[in-house]
Symmetry: D2
Subunit: 347 residues, 4 copies
Amino acid sequence: MTVKVSIIGATGYTGAELVRILHRHPEVELMALTTRSYAGLPLHKVYPHLYKYNQITCEEMNLAKIFDISDVVFVALPHGHAMPVALEAARRGKKMIDLGADFRFSDYQVYEKWYKVEHEARKLLGEAVYALPEVNRDEIKGAWLIANPGCYPTSAILALAPLLKQKFVDTGSIIVDSKSGVSGAGRGLSLGTHFCEVNDNFKAYNVATHRHTPEIEQGLGRIAGEDITITFTPHLLPITRGILSTVYAKLSVSAGAEEIREMYLDYYKDEFFVRVLPAGLLPQTKWVAGTNHCDISVTVDARTGRVIVISAIDNLVKGASGQAVQNMNIICGLPEDTALAGPGLYP
Amino acid sequence: MTVKVSIIGATGYTGAELVRILHRHPEVELMALTTRSYAGLPLHKVYPHLYKYNQITCEEMNLAKIFDISDVVFVALPHGHAMPVALEAARRGKKMIDLGADFRFSDYQVYEKWYKVEHEARKLLGEAVYALPEVNRDEIKGAWLIANPGCYPTSAILALAPLLKQKFVDTGSIIVDSKSGVSGAGRGLSLGTHFCEVNDNFKAYNVATHRHTPEIEQGLGRIAGEDITITFTPHLLPITRGILSTVYAKLSVSAGAEEIREMYLDYYKDEFFVRVLPAGLLPQTKWVAGTNHCDISVTVDARTGRVIVISAIDNLVKGASGQAVQNMNIICGLPEDTALAGPGLYP
Amino acid sequence: MTVKVSIIGATGYTGAELVRILHRHPEVELMALTTRSYAGLPLHKVYPHLYKYNQITCEEMNLAKIFDISDVVFVALPHGHAMPVALEAARRGKKMIDLGADFRFSDYQVYEKWYKVEHEARKLLGEAVYALPEVNRDEIKGAWLIANPGCYPTSAILALAPLLKQKFVDTGSIIVDSKSGVSGAGRGLSLGTHFCEVNDNFKAYNVATHRHTPEIEQGLGRIAGEDITITFTPHLLPITRGILSTVYAKLSVSAGAEEIREMYLDYYKDEFFVRVLPAGLLPQTKWVAGTNHCDISVTVDARTGRVIVISAIDNLVKGASGQAVQNMNIICGLPEDTALAGPGLYP
Amino acid sequence: MTVKVSIIGATGYTGAELVRILHRHPEVELMALTTRSYAGLPLHKVYPHLYKYNQITCEEMNLAKIFDISDVVFVALPHGHAMPVALEAARRGKKMIDLGADFRFSDYQVYEKWYKVEHEARKLLGEAVYALPEVNRDEIKGAWLIANPGCYPTSAILALAPLLKQKFVDTGSIIVDSKSGVSGAGRGLSLGTHFCEVNDNFKAYNVATHRHTPEIEQGLGRIAGEDITITFTPHLLPITRGILSTVYAKLSVSAGAEEIREMYLDYYKDEFFVRVLPAGLLPQTKWVAGTNHCDISVTVDARTGRVIVISAIDNLVKGASGQAVQNMNIICGLPEDTALAGPGLYP
């Protein structure tokens, strides 16, 4: 079986990462790559690390043509641009995986409030599935419209899911302090991603206002079965790939680190991509660089009754393109780790 | 007036930074530099950035000789090594500024518990002053034995002092999530500071067990007038200099960000080295690199009732050698900013 | 005596670096800062590291006003924009220091060929002085129009001047292999300075076509008294500040490293800013970061008869703004190292 | 067919990289991993990026046992330690691939002069093959003792091979200016690889004295059919992986860049791992990171009659462990790119 795949927005970092991963996929045929900036250029001129591997010439987006030739379409565009694509996919009965935010919220009002954009495809929100396989795999299996989770939410929700499922923590006490590499901001130019402004430097940004906040809250709330409000602080690391989230919560039960670690091991026992680290090891972003893994450690601060969970992912893989391929594998009935297994590059 | 100064442990990073700063000091004469590893070498062979500036040859430590020729002795040694120096200083009636932890705790039992070392100079603890000028300048003025604060505690205490002084927060709710550059670990070799293990990487370490925890708690407790227990998580940034602390606390009063910022501006109104940033700006470590400044921002997360204070310092300057010179200026009756004022190097 | 100074193009990196340096200058009063992008903003909002130090509000360029209030005007604009400023300075009889390329070539045809711009102030080229103090200080003293050297040429010419002056090398054999930090490309946005494209990466660029080539050749030719053609290859380092040039030439005389080093020591014996390193030390960019120094080492490859000279500068200081202030000091009759002496920040 | 493989010195960076690559190899069974420092620990405790992938416990080296169970033994030890292993391999009739320098020189005197070690297995030098597949594949096929090339020599010889083969250049004019990432120095601790000493810094080292010089000369000489002496200058980049070599030579024929590029394309037309880049592209180390590729560009400086060839490799892959697996594939009769094909990680 071969899945015919196209990528809309192929020349951003998540688009190029999809190409890299799909190149290793034995069941995928790459059909078309669209771009706003580089139409007419072979992709390997835009990304020479793909030289000798990819011969496709980028083209401007033509939805009719794309859907004619594709079984699955990945959309790697800024938020607000995936809605017309989804409407077309619905008309055609094709599968679509959106790496942006347009279909992540079941409540369009939350989307419109945080993203300052009107939702033009509200009727599809009921069909879209927010797809974090380790949390709701069964729901994903039958979906045609996949809302691929954001990078920060992936790291935060995987860190907290067992605690919330088992009701170990006070849900009002959650703080997520996250640190991300610069590739999370994409390949677009801005002073904030200029080398000299980031190198050998560190800062927080969008404190208490980042758009991933309601996405994390929605994800956690579904697991806990109640509304949850959190404090979320993103920071910018002078590294290219990786998110490390340090998550704090008050324990509502009496439990030690080892007991909680066992609970995590049990919760994730069938999950290849989540690695609950052996006691004594704390995640490092480089241990997961280039992989679809999420590494997790659990510590208890007995002096204050808090649990401190640390998770690390590669924002471009498990936080974007890798998870998108994982979801594609699921909805296409392929082995979930196809093109995704393997240790990362260290050092 | 000329202050005769020697440095014990001059070839570590804090020692070399003392030399750099004191070179700009018009009232200081540098007398002797001691070292365990490089005795007999001119300092500029150990640190060629000082070539043409420093002609002193490093020597092994000889306490009698050092105190014979010095008015003030800086001690930049690992913890456990400053106690005999302080006993000698006491005998001689000389001033001493310890950049390590040996005299930071009024309760020797806290020191012995966290540092796993017996305290050999308990009788001096009553005379030592934990010296954070922006918090207890008056107490510092008459001191002869200065315990220079640790880098993380400096960043955390300056971030929280106004909130605690004004009793704006629930003292049981404090979380300090700190990120430090690698120079905080010193020049000694370890796998954890090997370039390839740190570069393009990020991790937490010593979660819930770092020795700066009780120091922060002691400092906060004195301001609040009550015992305080916090959660403290240090992380290692792939940068050379800088600490950024993201501090969380539950507001116990109803106050907005602007009101709290005004309160900070008032609290620090006479403090040249603390810069409460204009609304809209968040600290970056590079803005304070090479300076004795502590930059601070205040944000309120109205959705959760938390205040988020962010502080940035250069760990080698305000977090170590700069603050040590600031304290020297105070105890010697010199203008406090001598050798310390001036904008940093950016970018 | 107070020199009234303005900066045209103050919000680029070299402009901000001028402000940082001039802040330390006891004889300078900063009058006006112009900018195309940030007019109306206080400079410390554009560069918060200057907060509490600089209160000046940036303004759009008004040449008449600038020259009314200034004795010396620094021009930190892209090439092609300094010519009208110089014409105005000539009319007013004011001093001007251009950090760009417009007045670096005595032959306007060379400028026009390499920079693809017509020269609009050819008549001033005879009055402009290419000002590398360690090479032609006497010529600089009386000048009103200073062409401040480029960053690569400064590093290359200082590396080669003694060899050419003493005719130790075959002038047809010179290769300059240079590596620069990213700040040399300025604060303007481009894919080539995007953090993710530079971090943990390395490349050459503009091989055999870089515009600094004829500038180096002109500078070397004046010292040698003959036309010189070189091969010059620039590379981009994933660092913020610093240029290291590795310079190769065939020895035309029989001489060992120590003999040549002595010759360098003699050539630069009165030059505070050039540090010919002790034998056994090779320059590192960080040893000169934030300083106006040029560090130099000399090695002889006896097996091949080549001399290898390595020089390191901070591209924003000795390679731009520091040298500009050095030149200002010279033309204003001030001590040449004012605001410029002092060791750099290490590590 | 399954090849049973062991690694002596598995816990250094090249050893761990062998494990990473061999994990992808369908025809290899990993038998034993030896180490001096971590015996008794599972490898994934030493390198947690391998967690869930590698379950082998490291052990101390026992040559008898290793050769009992292995068809091929990789030796990733410092120079001087592979000779007894080779003698044992010879006795047993097993294959061995040495990643160090012990068997790279056909003339033991060159080895002893540059490495300051006596050669204890001179009789094997005639059987050892210096194995750079793109240069001498046929010779490699029948070998049992492989001397895997050094990282700098791989980058330099691949850059120059076509020019020397075609006699396009003056062989006395060759200069190799190389820049390497820090992983080339291994995982051992030294001040020179301490993060703070390397980060945001750049330097040359071992100028005109590096041990890879005679290895490059031997490799070039064999291709040219004459003795060649070069100037070689290594530099240390603040990056983890990657070598970029900028190679200069005087053209001895009249040829333009495009003609020479065509000649390179022809020379390497059957070589998958060498990518002669399209005109206009210059190599970047990150484009080959994690891959076995060597990217090459050719530029002609018509003004000086020099050709400038730039090559980029990943020092741990094509410069060490990847090339070692490539050689293993050749001597075992497996497809040469097994476990080695695939685009790298960018950005």
